[in-house]
Assembly symmetry: C2
Homo-oligomer: 340 residues x 2
């Protein structure tokens, strides 16, 4: 390391490295020293690369928010309480330097970190010849237990929090706005801002996740790869199948305005689009009243969109998709657009 | 994500994601669930970028070892016991794919992980248009307390474990071998292999760190940026100065063979060269017998190289460097060669 790196670390430390619950020693030493107060730990790590996970010209405040949010969403899916995080920034050289950029990044990060009680306790800052790359590790505590993806049971209802497809629609609109070939959706201009806000600043469902776990929900994961792909993770891990009623997938008013009965869009946005950061969870019907109460107290709608089915001895698709009570065959729905 | 990413994660999981002490739920869910058994936690994160922190054509087995080792070294400096880690791989697209590369990487990683009792519990795998970039987060437990960089006291002896400068000399030799302009050291061919082994497979000083902390050492850090820069971190954090006797810096036989009385090399390799991953620690002279006993039982030599001095009211250099009892003025010794 040399001067510039230390200066950036000190800037981050000054803006974000304040104390926090259970922080015995925060940023500035070889490692952080933390006190989980006898609780078990939950930890996850996510990496975002410019040009792949976000536009290189993203507002750094939005990036700061999202880098933390996508990690917190993993803790929400476990029903854990976030406490601490570490941040690695691989920064391409820029003639104008990173100081104002880091200030804005820290502001967006801080807004979410403060409201969710997460302290930055360490990390790294390096130079790269490649795109800006961020890696975040979050650490939380589990008060009682956790929710896991292999715990679905036949007969469970499949629920999702909030609404699906907004971020994927917003991404398409952003591609249209940038004139990318192949993106020719007629953009619903009046709704674009609402969709874009969901893409840029997802809200990790932490309160709901913790309350659902405490109420007895055993199976959840966060919806980041697209609803169908993520549900498939649950089904593979649990060794089960499912039925999903496509028209039940919850849509925001903005998305509903521009999706109508267009099945291509239903497939592209709420069914297989990514970056929702909602929770998918499975629970026996007996838990429905408790779950609706939790949803009400979190001011977060939840929607039952299907049901877990027993494993089939015949090798078939793991999800039967219905549209208004009729089985639906959609072409190519397993292929989610990503680089790897 | 799509197929390739999941396949790589499954491959890593299969090779490295086995259980471990305190692993309640390992790789494969949104997050890992860990039990620190009532102990406090120590955590650190480091990022390595191809072309900056390692040669892009590095043997992946060596890279796997080193990526873990440099992180474990941070825990060693705290006196912590490593338990778990998370690994993020940002991989450039390669026509030949990553499967054999990952196998070799996992082998090198596993060799060190197994001998130090560290379980891989999570991480991420993404594609990048830039260089291969690895980020590792390690988690350990502190049985009693930790060592920190701001805890030096006037009168403390300054000690280092092992030997300094090997990795820096090996890096210069590697540059010479690659014909980089400006690198014209006459390479000590017979010693090159020993030096290179130290550069490629550093040994985190975990046993010594834990024992030193338990014996009452309060101040330590790991020597990764170069001895002088790292000692300066201690002095700044502790608000103190130091005297260092340059000829006391411990050298390996291989390095001693090629350094002789060449002060430029003394300055360049053991004094300011990086990547040593030894521990620098400060302790009152009364601890010397106990420390020598620990060193003996760890089969790791330790060497006193100077002493902590009170803060000076005059603004001077924080370290007075002596060579055979005479003050030494070395040109440009504060500037360590790094990108930032």
């Amino acid at each position: 390391m040399a001067v510039g790196e230390f200066a950036l670390i000190e800037q981050l430390q000054g803006r974000l490295g304040g104390g926090g619950k259970g922080v015995l020693l925060g940023m500035g030493d070889d490692a952080a020293w933390l006190d989980p107060a006898g609780q078990s730990l939950v930890t996850s790590m996510d990496t975002l690369v410019a040009g792949r996970h976000f536009f290189a010209d993203v507002d750094p405040a939005d990036l700061g928010w999202k880098a933390l949010a996508v990690n917190l969403s993993d803790l929400a899916a476990m029903g854990a309480q976030p406490r601490w995080c570490l941040l690695s920034l691989a920064l391409p050289m820029r003639a104008e330097g990173y100081s104002p950029w880091l200030e804005a990044f820290a502001e967006g990060w801080h807004t979410l970190a403060e409201s969710t009680g997460v302290a930055l306790v360490g990390g790294d800052t390096v130079a790269t010849d490649g795109p800006l790359t961020l890696t975040v590790t979050v650490l939380g505590v589990a008060e009682q237990g956790i929710m896991r993806r292999d715990a679905a049971r036949p007969g469970d209802l499949i629920w999702v929090t909030g609404t699906l497809g907004d971020a994927a629609a917003a991404l398409d609109l952003a591609f249209v706005a940038r004139g990318l070939p192949g993106y020719d959706f007629a953009g619903p201009a009046t709704q674009a801002q609402a969709l874009e806000a969901r893409r840029l600043r997802p809200l990790p469902r932490l309160d709901f996740g913790r309350a659902a776990q405490a109420a007895g929900v055993a199976c959840a994961l966060d919806c980041s790869d697209g609803f169908l792909a993520d549900l498939d993770h649950i089904l593979k891990a649990s060794g089960l199948r499912a039925r999903v009623d496509l028209e039940h997938l919850p849509l925001s008013p903005a998305l509903r305005d521009c999706i109508d009965q267009d099945l291509v869009r239903w497939q592209r946005w709420p069914l297989t689009g990514g970056d929702d950061y909602e929770l998918i969870f499975c629970a026996p019907p007996s838990l429905t009243p408790a779950l609706l109460n939790i949803a009400h107290s979190c001011a977060l709608p939840i929607t039952a969109v299907g049901q877990i089915l027993p494993a089939d001895s015949q090798p078939t698709e793991s999800v039967d998709i219905y549209w208004q009570e009729r089985p639906l065959a959609l072409p190519g729905i397993r292929g989610h657009q990503h680089v790897f």
